[in-house]
Symmetry: C2
Subunit: 392 residues, 2 copies
Amino acid sequence: MIQSKEHLLVIDADSRSSGWLVEHFAAQGFEVTAAATPESCAEMPANQRPDVIIGDLMPEGVAWLTDFLEPFEPRPPVVVLTNPISTDHILETLRAGAADVVSKVALDITALDEALARQLERVRLFKQSKRYRQDLERTVSEFKYNLDELRADQRAGRQVQMKMLPEKGLRFGKISIDHCIKPSLYLSGDFFDYYHIDQHRVGFYFADVSGHGASSAFVTVLLKNLSNRLQRNIRRQSSDDILHPERLLARVNSELLETDLGKHLTMFAGIIDTEKRMLTYSVGAHYPMPVFCDGKDCSFLEGRGAPVGLMAQAHYKTFERPLPPGFSIIIVSDGLFEVLDAPSLDAKEALMLERVRSSGHTIGELESVFQLDALSEIPDDIAIVSITETLV
Amino acid sequence: MIQSKEHLLVIDADSRSSGWLVEHFAAQGFEVTAAATPESCAEMPANQRPDVIIGDLMPEGVAWLTDFLEPFEPRPPVVVLTNPISTDHILETLRAGAADVVSKVALDITALDEALARQLERVRLFKQSKRYRQDLERTVSEFKYNLDELRADQRAGRQVQMKMLPEKGLRFGKISIDHCIKPSLYLSGDFFDYYHIDQHRVGFYFADVSGHGASSAFVTVLLKNLSNRLQRNIRRQSSDDILHPERLLARVNSELLETDLGKHLTMFAGIIDTEKRMLTYSVGAHYPMPVFCDGKDCSFLEGRGAPVGLMAQAHYKTFERPLPPGFSIIIVSDGLFEVLDAPSLDAKEALMLERVRSSGHTIGELESVFQLDALSEIPDDIAIVSITETLV
């Protein structure tokens, strides 16, 4: 940065004394302007405003300058060089707004230079702080621009992702399925879908992609696309993979490995058959396991299986659970465990069961019992799917 | 915000005068502390530092205070209340660092209050500016945290996306295919792939998803997955859609509509058959059309077709172009046109042809002739794929 010279204004009606002062300060490297009267300040262009004024001034002149300089930022301090005729004269000069007073009689150059140095120090501090403030303001507006741009991008991504989720509060006969999803950032690596298969069967899956944000959200697009294709295939009677949770997991596993995104996921997939009164499901390392409530008690479903998209040779088993009337199934992502206040995973599981037992199983009731609305920060994506059968 | 009281320190060895001053300022709402000597300042806790000091002080006392207060920020100004025995005495007091001097003899209360007001105004401005600066600093660090978080997220997404692109500089016999991609943000809506089909056939496609950033990048995952599946199908001999560019476009069209992301794209897909010496291609509203160079001249390929993912009833035609020895095909996204300096689309097309004619057709040469490295801002994603046949 080119530091422009500091600018002094010398006001002195005596041209000899004025000339001497100009020379003295110019020799020190200052840019010096001379004026005969304070009023000539008024004609000075804004970009030539002095940093400090040194003047042989009477109190009235000082008062005029003080008024005139009032709106300036920074306000140039006025050092008065005067013949101190009396103590009252000096006090009056100070009261008029002089920043300092130095005797012009038998002029002590050191005293004058020191007075100037004291005022310049203040002016420099002010300017420095102003420059720093302006730098900060520039940084804030630049960061804000970049943030707005990235946030708009993520919001657009989020809208697309939300479009892929099933409708909230769907009913399939007596079965109600509902969900909530709280991404840690804008985009989520948690994903789920549920769909009508035929008059007595409903399919659903729940996946939690490793990581979170944009890179994980990519994988959810694949999931949606694959489950769409499998649903289409059964309508066209070209494949019934969608009826077999273990095949759905195997398909996701192989397509994920083939697309080679470097991402894997945990998954739970199930089919509810209201005619056979049976839940058939398959587990791809999903944790925590879904909670199953039979109308009397709630417990975690049994079963295990490998993560999806890690190993080509992964095989998935099918598990079954008979469906008592009025059953419910609560599936959550492990993001929920990160906000459950318990010291260990076992304790978190116990706490989750306790909360689910103590509450109704609509999404609203679950959000409330897990206090999801009170979360100020969400370390990992949180999603809940609730499947309930009404008795009436 | 609770504005704490401003704090004055009164230094006066005369307890009657000190008591009177304390009472006077306390009545105005200030918090006032009294001390008998300047040195007692040294024992004052940091959080009880005065905003302004008013003291009956000799020049030596002022000088001591000036030294002592030097490191304070802000430095409390010292208003000296004194018996002005001589003009020299006042000037000496000022030289010692007093901010103002008021006569204690026949004390003019208004003069004292005015002197205090002048100093307080400076102190308040300083504090206000410091608070503002601190607010700015907090905002900067908060914005930086959020930016870092979002950027890390986008970078992770970008890594996944880059993994989906084909290797740079692939060779299929005498055919070399290479590319470059410059996203406007981190994630790109431009996507392409090229792949070996059999000994004499190479397939490729180039797509530009509407919009840019995360939401558009989602769609590129679908494209990659679909083309992977079609390549797998031909290996398994279950479908030869991948050999027919018009079927590839139709498949993308229907899957995009089915997945219902609210996104469409423009696309160009082709098959190079080096045995039949024929390029077969299909166009999904891709613009600008690829440039075809036959070793003598370069021109845009002919053909048109509907955007992909907008209309269920879209049908795509096949076009053919014989392949002379040493041909090349340059495919770009319309993001390139946004940085070509020409007044109309026609002029941009002419400029593009001119540049391609004037240059070699490796990616390095094309990046250089289009000055892609010199771009300071990229309004829309830019991608170039270059397919060239070597003669030797």
